[in-house]
């Protein structure tokens, strides 16, 4: 098993003929992801990396049975693309797009949940179940199948940690980048719940960063519901308050959202928190051994 995506995933790419969309479709197909369809309005009949292109999601789903979608359209059009996917019955929607206005995401979030779908992102690298499906922009080759469930708000920092895990012989069940924006579809807690329930995930790594209180919420959830060993790293210990650190969500406001608070909350929940990404594999082995 694994969570959210696997070899049964039939992936649709929204914005497939764009620069990003076509590049990453090729990458995903090369990785072995079952990419069944793409959508770009007006480009029906074209192909990208051997994947047929349709005008609408509805049509693409009807023709190909796509059950997951990844979105590479510009920020201005991303909310519409999410609504189109959900309304067409796509159960898992991964929005890579960066820069979507917060006020657009608030109703999107409510709608996706009310309709029983799941959104990952926006402003995220996507997710990967090594050896089965890469649904995102992460470099596939650094991953290895295994039993570590990884969830992160970041992109390259995740790759950094994954690379270290793989080199330490710790393969991954699924690695999920939930995105760095203030309003995202899936939270740490959502992913933790899935990892806890997944028999193939035996330990968990959480890569957090400053801003918001998702890590604190995760700590509460871990204390109450997670039985598997958990290790964490929180980026931004040196970030000054009130400044946005790249990610729209990475800002310490009014004294809340600091790395210190998050680390304290996680440690109080029994999570081993690494001082640097390089410590993660050793801490994880320690946690697994102690479990």
């Amino acid at each position: 098993m694994s969570i959210l995506v696997d070899s049964n995933t039939r992936l649709l790419v929204q914005g497939i003929t764009g620069r990003e969309g076509s590049f990453h479709t090729t990458q995903m197909v090369e990785y072995g992801t079952n990419v069944v369809a793409g959508v770009t309005p007006g480009k029906k009949g074209e192909q990208v990396a051997g994947v047929p292109v349709f005008d609408t999601v509805q049509e693409a789903v009807a023709e190909t049975g796509a059950n997951a979608s990844i979105i590479y359209v510009p920020a201005k059009f991303a909310p519409d693309a999410i609504y189109e996917a959900v309304d067409s019955g796509v159960a898992l929607v991964v929005c890579i797009t960066e820069g979507v206005p917060i006020n657009d995401m608030v109703p999107v979030y409510a709608y996706v949940n009310a309709n029983g779908a799941r959104l990952i992102g926006p402003n995220c690298p996507g997710l990967i179940t090594p050896g089965q499906a890469k649904v995102g922009i992460m470099p596939g080759f650094i991953h290895e199948p295994g039993s570590v469930g990884l969830v992160s708000r970041s992109g390259t920092l995740t790759y950094e940690v994954v690379d270290m895990l793989t080199k330490a012989g710790l393969g991954q069940s699924t690695a999920v980048g939930i995105g760095g924006d203030p309003v995202i579809g899936t939270s740490f807690v959502d992913v933790l719940r899935l990892f806890e329930a997944d028999p193939e995930t035996e330990s968990i790594v959480i890569i957090g960063e400053i801003g918001g209180s998702d890590e604190e919420d995760a700590a509460v959830f871990i204390r109450e519901h997670v039985t598997k060993p958990v290790v964490s790293f929180i980026a931004g210990q040196t970030a000054p308050p009130g400044k946005r650190m790249g990610h729209a969500g990475a800002i310490i406001s009014g004294g809340s959202g600091s790395a210190a608070d998050k680390i304290e909350a996680l440690e109080a929940a029994g999570v081993r928190v690494a001082q640097s990404p390089s410590q993660v594999p050793a801490l994880l082995k320690e946690a697994i051994a102690a479990a």
Binding site: I102, D104, V183, A235, M245
Partner: protein, 380 residues
Amino acid sequence: MNVHEYQAAEILARYGVPVNPGRVAESPEEASAVAAEYGGTVVVKAQVHTGGRGKAGGIKLAHSPEEARQAAAAILGMDISGHTVNKVLVAKGVAIAQEFYLGVVLDRPNRQVLVMASAEGGVDIEEVARERPDKIVQRRADPVLGFHPYLARELGFALGLPATQVNGFAAIAQQLYEAYMGEDATLVEVNPLILTEDGEWRAIDSKMSFDDNALFRHDESEQMRDFAEENLTELDARNSGISFVKLDGDIGCIVNGAGLAMATMDAVKQHGGEPANFLDVGGGASASQVAKAFSLVTADPNVKAILINIFGGITRGDVVADGIREALAEVEVSAPIVVRLSGTNADEGKDILAKAGLTAVDTMDEAAASVVAAAHSRAD
């Protein structure tokens, strides 16, 4: 993006909020003229993008045009937490009967917009939230339908307002919500919102911040940007697709990815150094991006050494290395450079760098230790 108090007040007035009369002045003479026009007492307030103006002496009462002139003269040019005062707001004095707080913010955990109010107005609301949370009442707007009038009334009743004042308060709460949504704000705050002795509502101090992601549809907000208040380097960086935040240390950082950039800063600190900046070159890391990053980092005279930390993902290590090489041919960099290259095509990248006289290390920790050592040796 932030705007000044007087600009936030202008916006809120457009949404119907009864903003206390005031006019901005850039010289003591202008301030005196506004005071003369209003007559009676005025309040002269520093317009800077930072809190703590009162404690810093940036807010003064003036009972005559001459006093207003003197107050403005004292405040203009003042430095408040590193912000130079270039403008003051000259606001009409008003007899305050009661002070309230009213604000609209994003409730991140619930992914909804929250309207908050407190009868403890005029003070630091975050302190109230921490110490007397029961003094704050709040209602969440429906994510799709918006902030229903009944929710605004509930807030008014929860504050214990007399029945005759509830509708007036509720109207302002809805106007603030409309302004939040209409302007794509991330914060709208009136503190204090007051009841005058005549039973009128007045917004005395207004504050707004905007969602940078939504500025594309708000030219008017964008035009309110006060470049004197912005770090021009940061703005310049953003225009090149680079996230840059100036810090106080001496180690320049160039990293791909925001999370990795923060982790890199943390690693520098752990190894005894102080980062001079946060810098995320973004996804591409082309030669021109890297060159721009170099020029941003080297523009800071404090920078003693530079750490380049790249995890090649979709971005290939050899391409980044080429970018670094080309950038170094364009931009003159005197500070020592430590490169860490990992991930896709890292080995090819290292070869390229070696030819350019740069040695790349494999891990972030190594790189951090090495750059801190380089900076310290230069500092000695």
